[in-house]
Symmetry: C2
Subunit: 131 residues, 2 copies
DNA sequence: ATACATGTAACTATACATGTTACAGCTAAA
DNA sequence: TTTAGCTGTAACATGTATAGTTACATGTAT
């Protein structure tokens, strides 16, 4: 898989909406700021909507944050736009007949979870201090 | 975000070598444990060697850890096998003529770096407690 | 009605991980 | 020194996810 800019772009979109509540908030306009495509923007916005981070209505270019910006963390946004539950993917195709192949998954899963759990506390809020 | 099992497999390889110093350590043998291909194993081992985490010699199936296992962290391994300096990739194609498009990179980079810096302290050592 | 918006399906291009074949070159043992 | 088996690496195939794009059904508002 590729390195995705979805999180980066999603943060961009939310920040744009938070900062410009009275400007043109059409996907076309936001796409110009992100330097991307309106459909790409709407696709990301759709994911943010499903995660209850964003409110929007069909036909109306008036999206808004579903919560106060201080109550939206980057981790929330990450989970909204990335499918993987963690950053780190375990190879689950290892050989079950090998002592190491059979145990490495469990061991690494413990490590990954541990890392992830501590990590989750550290995520920043929306970068609205650029205001 | 990347969807690679390289880190997982690299940890597997290093653990295999650390645990089985007297067994058959050919790439073919390790590949059976990982349930992969000898070339894939050698490819990862080549990266570990370049990062000075692994010692190996052409023609000899006797790889060994370059350091005591307690001095090899999963973060070391991550950096050895993944090119990206961080987990999180910033969209650097945003519109420089838009106030937000031009600033979002700097702001997110600050956040990402902050997250990453705290994160780096938390990585586990090689999972040799499976012994 | 008309213009413009969202929501979403479908297709394409691209990038990267992984699998595989092939082979040059090294090692060790007969 | 011949031989078997190994490493190191290039080259190519394949699978999959991102991102860009076109198209269109549907909603909004004047």
């Amino acid at each position: 898989m590729k390195n995705s800019t979805k999180l980066s772009d999603a943060m961009h979109i939310l920040t744009y909406i938070a900062i410009n509540p009275n400007h043109d908030l059409s996907s076309t306009q936001i796409a110009q700021s992100v330097n991307s495509n309106p459909v790409v923007i709407r696709r990301i916005m759709s994911q943010l909507k499903k995660a209850n981070l964003l409110l929007s209505e069909n036909g109306k270019a008036t999206p808004s944050l579903a919560h106060d910006s201080h109550n939206i963390s980057m981790l929330d946004v990450y989970h909204a736009v990335e499918n993987e539950p963690t950053f780190l993917k375990i190879d689950d195709q290892t050989n079950p007949n090998c002592p190491i192949g059979s145990q490495i998954k469990t061991v690494l899963d413990t490590d990954y979870t541990s890392i992830q759990k501590r990590q989750n506390k550290k995520w920043q809020r929306l970068p609205l201090r650029m205001l």
